[in-house]
Structure formats: structure tokens, C-alpha cells
């Protein structure tokens, strides 16, 4: 049954991945005017100087003189063989650069996810158990406010507090967790809090709602009647069942994390794929832009796939659509 589900889910992936590649391909196509001139940094109005050979070479690399479906086919063929083109700035293969930058994004996402869960699960649990008390209102206030607050603003305010005023933490920079774990923790703290807050804000509401739902169930009444101590009922029974439904939401939130991390990485100069994307945009390095968007989108699709399968495995009652 699970195998069939996985097979079905993999089939669904085909059109999605197809459209994702079409979109990434179109990033260059929808540049207004002549994309080659734009990439060479020539202003279409004022004009500018560029070497004729450079123009022809770039145009050849992009294959812009062919019909659009041929261009897409050729591009896709190259991408599938791992050739994402050369960076216009550094002249290095885009794939190499992505491989360098990808781990930093993943490390940040993992720490942020852990931070988010560490905030959301206790907050949601307490809010549900102590419904309509000050604790509940505080948790819900945090949830509402956390969703509304732009993460770049939170980032700036935390930098002001922890780096500028208190001088406790570095505001920018990065160290690999494999080489110097302690330095990594110092650097990852603020970005992880920012992304974790974003994540926790929406998760807290789900955990609370699910907990409230579970606490109404008969098995909880049975557990109470048996005389089990409340902490065991709340954590071992109700929370465990609440978290199953939360898994999907976590999956969706990782999407926000990946999309939002672009900004947070940029603010903290975290050398991940998100900040690479923006560097690519600022320097009109479109192969870099395409490569970063592609890798983030594919990661996102992949995570959603894993989460769906995990959910199905955790709760076999879920029906296939």
C-alpha cells in the first residue's frame, strides 16, 4: 500500500518538475529587451561598449537564435547531464559553485527547524492545556505577531540588540560546523532565531489546535479515568497524536524557510544558496540565478515528497487523493 502510494506520488512529480524547469528556463527568456545585452551590463537606453566577440559568444552559449522549444530542449538536456553553464562573473561552472554554497543553507535550515520546533511544541502544548489563560494568550500573541513581522526586520532588530548594544554575538559571517563547531553556533544563533521564529509562529497555532482536538477525544478521557498523571496524558498521548498532523505543516513551512532564507542569508551574509541567488541577481549573472532557483525549487519539491510519504507512513488512515 505504501509502495503504491510512493509510486503514485513519484508520478505526480513528473509534471511538477517539468513545469519547474520550464519556469527556470523562462527566467532568462522573459528579460525585457535583448537578454545578451542585459547580461553584458549594457543599459538599453544609454547604450554602452562591449566587444562584438563577447556578444556572439554569449549568444551562442545561450543558444538564443533558435526556436524557443529547441532552446528549452537543449537547455534541459544540458541541465540533466549536470551542466548548468558557466557563471558570467567568475567563469566557473555553476554546479561547482552551488555544491560549495548548498551545505551552508542546509545547516541553517536544520538549526532553524530545530529552533522552531523547540519554541512551537512547548508553546502550543501549554497554550492548549491552559486554554484561555494568560499563557494561552501570550502564546497566541506570539504566533500572530511572529507571522506578521517581516523576518528581515526582526533580523535587524536582533543585530541591534545582540551585536550592537550587547556585543554578545557576531552580526555577520560564517564558520563551517565541521571545522569549528563553536564558532558556527555563534554565527548561526541569530539567523536561526529569525527563521525559527517565523516557523514557530505558524506552527504554534497548529500544535495548539491539534492538541485541543486531541484532548476532546475519548482515549484521553479513558486515560484520565485510569488515573494517569496529567503530564503523561498531555505529552505521551495527546501531543504525540497532535504531532502527526503537524508533520505536513512543518513540510509546508520548510518552503517558507527556503524562500525566506534568501533574505535572512543576505542580511547575515550567510554564504548559502539564497545569498548566492541575490548576488547573481545584483551582478546580472543569470546562469547563477537559474542554478540557485532550480536547486531551491527542487529541494522544496523533494522535501514535500518526503513529508507526504512520512505522513502516510505515520498515519496509514490518510487516503490517497
Amino acid at each position: 500500500m505504501l509502495a503504491r502510494y510512493i509510486f503514485h506520488r513519484l508520478l505526480q512529480l513528473v509534471p511538477v518538475l517539468f513545469l519547474v524547469t520550464v519556469f527556470v528556463f523562462l527566467i532568462v527568456q522573459i528579460i525585457p529587451g535583448d537578454p545578451v545585452l542585459v547580461m553584458l551590463g549594457v543599459d538599453p537606453e544609454t547604450g554602452g561598449r562591449y566587444a562584438e566577440e563577447q556578444y556572439t559568444a554569449l549568444k551562442g552559449q545561450l543558444g538564443l537564435d533558435q526556436p524557443i522549444y529547441v532552446q528549452y530542449y537543449n537547455w534541459l538536456k544540458r541541465v540533466l547531464s549536470g551542466d548548468l553553464g558557466l557563471s558570467l562573473q567568475s567563469r566557473r561552472p555553476v554546479l561547482d559553485i552551488l555544491v560549495e554554497r548548498y551545505p551552508a543553507t542546509i545547516y541553517l535550515a536544520i538549526v532553524a527547524l530545530a529552533t522552531g520546533l523547540l519554541i512551537a511544541i512547548p508553546a502550543g502544548l501549554v497554550a492548549a492545556v491552559r486554554q484561555n489563560t494568560a499563557a494561552d494568550y501570550a502564546a497566541m500573541g506570539y504566533a500572530m505577531w511572529g507571522v506578521a513581522m517581516p523576518n528581515f526586520w526582526l533580523a535587524l532588530m536582533l543585530i541591534v540588540l545582540f551585536s550592537v548594544k550587547l556585543g554578545w554575538l557576531p552580526s555577520i559571517g560564517y564558520a563551517s560546523p565541521l571545522e569549528s563547531p563553536l564558532k558556527f553556533l555563534q554565527h548561526v544563533f541569530l539567523p536561526a532565531i529569525v527563521l525559527g521564529t517565523d516557523l514557530a509562529a505558524s506552527l504554534t497555532r497548529y500544535v495548539r489546535a491539534e492538541m485541543l482536538e486531541q484532548l476532546k477525544q475519548d482515549y484521553i478521557r479513558t486515560a484520565r479515568a485510569k488515573g494517569l498523571p496529567p503530564p503523561i496524558i498531555f505529552v505521551k498521548h495527546a501531543l504525540r497524536n497532535s504531532l502527526i498532523a503537524t508533520v505536513t505543516v512543518v513540510g509546508l513551512q520548510i518552503a517558507r524557510l527556503l524562500g525566506g532564507s534568501t533574505i535572512v542569508e543576505t542580511v547575515f551574509t550567510w554564504p548559502g544558496v539564497g545569498s548566492l541567488l541575490l548576488e547573481g541577481i545584483y551582478s546580472r549573472d543569470y546562469p547563477i540565478v537559474q542554478g540557485s532557483v532550480l536547486i531551491i525549487a527542487v529541494t522544496y519539491v523533494g522535501i514535500n515528497l518526503i513529508v507526504d510519504i512520512l505522513y502516510k507512513w505515520l498515519d496509514p488512515r490518510i487516503k490517497l487523493e
Binding site: L19, V20, I27, V147, M157, A255, I263, I296
Partner: protein, 300 residues
């Protein structure tokens, strides 16, 4: 007493099928009794008011540069301080409301105007058209929203129109899904049959008979999307991908003072606080509307 209101409630729900005005009246009543939603409504009204009467409310010219008075904290002269060029932060925030609402209205309308017909046609015609439309919608949903907006703006360039597209495209699927499932649940009802018997055209049945019935979940979505659009606009502007300076945009204001964070944190505090409050307001209103309509009957 309780039984009475309950049956009244059921009657109100039954009546809602062809006419929706009674439920809008209900909505206003319930919103007024929900303090959080009311708070949201007050903030939104203030923002709209500020945007409309910006020249009257602003204390200074939002573009006026005054270098000697740069990076000041809040004072009697400059209520919320000044930015790195000595421009008055309060006045720029007031004018920024225009920018934010302008982008949000355009983007949300674009999303709704494309999403609603797509969902309606997909639900009504069924078969392959439904399958094709919905797969495309799935693919858009399979893309992290903010990432798509960034990528689109990177290609299309900044400016109002590309911001509409970049922000609006993301919300097409949610409208399409809401409308599609509403249409699916309504198209076999008696009143649709009746309209068909009287010889109404399919177009009129779809858009004038069926569509008004999913107004409720659409309003909820609209409110939440407004907040989302403002967040995306300010994020893009913060990254320097939205409006060019010296446009008074909340996100851009934050970007411009980021390098001077150590000298004058207030200059970054107020624009961000404004963004948060406005988004919070739209979310609270959306939640309030959801409580009124309970869109769970339509979604998915």
C-alpha cells in the same frame, strides 16, 4: 433561547444559497463583536486613510533632504526621527502607505482576476480542462512563493507592473482552488438546474448564479493575501528589487538605513513596526472573517 438562535442560524445559512447580502450583513455584525478583528479593521482603515490623505497628514515633504538633521531620533520636530538623508520618517511612512496599498491592490486583483475564472472554468467544465488547469496550479504551488517573486522581479526588473505580476502570480492557485471546489459543490444544485431550464446562458449561470456563493471564502483569502502582498513587496524592496529610491516604500526605507543601524536604530525600527502592524491587521481581519464564514466547507 439558544435553540432559537441556532435555528435562526440554520435558516440564515439556507437563505445564503442564492443571495449573499444577508451573510455580508452578518459578517459586519460578527466582526464588530470580535475585538481582534475590529482592531485589524481599525489599523486597515487608518492605513487607507493615511494613504488617501497623505499630503494633509504628513508633517514634512517625504522627499525633502536635510543633511544637517540626518539620523535623528524621535523629537517634536520629527515625530519618528529622520533617515540617513534627513528625510522625515513619519512623513515617509505615511506616503509609504500609498506605495504598499497600490502594490497590494494591483497584485491581489491580478491573482483574483486570473485565479477565479480559472477555478470557475475548471470546476464547471471538468474533464481535461480541469486536469490541465489544476496541474499548472499545483506546479505554481510547488514553488516557494517568495522565491518565485524574487526570480520574476530579477528578470522583469523593478517597477509597479512587474511587482503586480511577481506578487500576484503566487496567489492565483489559492483562488482557483477555492472557486473550483465551490463550483463543484454547487453545480448540481436545484437552483442551477432551474436557471438552466429558464434558458440562461452557461456563462451567466457560472458567474452570476454560482460564483456569488463562494464570496465568503474568497473574502477571507483576499484579506490574508493583502497582508501577504504587502510583506512580499516590502521584502523585495528591502532587497533592492522593488521600487527605486527615493520612492517612499517601507521595505526600501529599511534597506536604506541598514548600514547606519549602529548610529540610529530608530530609523529602522519604525518602518518595520509599521509593516508588522499592517500585516497583523490584515491577518486578524482574515481570521475574523474566517470565523464568520467557516470556509472549511469550501477549501480543498
Amino acid at each position: 433561547m439558544k435553540a432559537e438562535t441556532l435555528s435562526g442560524d440554520i435558516r440564515a445559512r439556507e437563505k445564503r444559497a442564492p443571495g449573499y447580502l444577508s451573510s455580508l450583513g452578518d459578517a459586519i455584525r460578527v466582526i464588530a463583536s470580535n475585538r481582534l478583528a475590529l482592531f485589524g479593521l481599525v489599523i486597515i482603515s487608518t492605513t487607507v486613510f493615511a494613504a488617501t490623505f497623505a499630503p494633509v497628514i504628513a508633517t514634512h515633504d517625504p522627499y525633502e533632504i536635510n543633511i544637517p538633521q540626518r539620523l535623528q531620533g524621535p523629537s517634536a520636530e520629527h515625530r519618528l526621527g529622520t533617515d540617513f538623508m534627513g528625510r522625515d520618517t513619519f512623513s515617509r511612512i505615511v506616503y509609504g502607505a500609498r506605495t504598499a496599498l497600490q502594490v497590494a491592490i494591483g497584485a491581489v486583483l491580478l491573482g483574483a482576476c486570473l485565479g477565479i475564472p480559472i477555478g470557475a472554468v475548471a470546476g464547471y467544465s471538468g474533464r481535461w480542462l480541469d486536469a490541465v488547469f489544476m496541474r499548472v496550479m499545483d506546479a505554481i504551488l510547488a514553488f516557494p512563493g517568495r522565491l518565485m517573486a524574487i526570480a520574476l522581479v530579477a528578470s522583469l526588473g523593478g517597477g509597479l507592473f512587474s511587482l503586480y505580476i511577481a506578487i500576484g502570480v503566487n496567489s492565483i492557485p489559492s483562488y482557483a482552488r477555492i472557486v473550483r471546489s465551490a463550483v463543484l459543490s454547487q453545480k448540481e444544485r436545484e437552483y442551477v438546474e432551474a436557471a438552466r431550464m429558464t434558458g440562461e446562458s452557461e456563462f451567466r449561470i457560472l458567474f452570476f448564479q454560482i460564483l456569488p456563493n463562494c464570496l465568503a471564502p474568497l473574502l477571507v483569502r483576499l484579506s490574508l493575501d493583502f497582508g501577504g502582498a504587502i510583506l512580499t513587496e516590502s521584502s523585495l524592496s528591502f532587497l533592492g528589487l522593488g521600487f527605486p529610491p527615493p520612492t517612499p516604500s517601507w521595505g526600501l526605507m529599511l534597506k536604506e538605513v541598514t548600514p547606519m543601524l549602529q548610529i540610529q536604530p530608530w530609523a529602522a525600527f519604525f518602518p518595520g513596526l509599521t509593516i508588522s502592524l499592517v500585516i497583523l491587521a490584515f491577518n486578524l481581519l482574515g481570521d475574523g472573517l474566517r470565523d464568520v464564514f467557516d470556509p472549511r466547507q469550501y477549501e480543498r
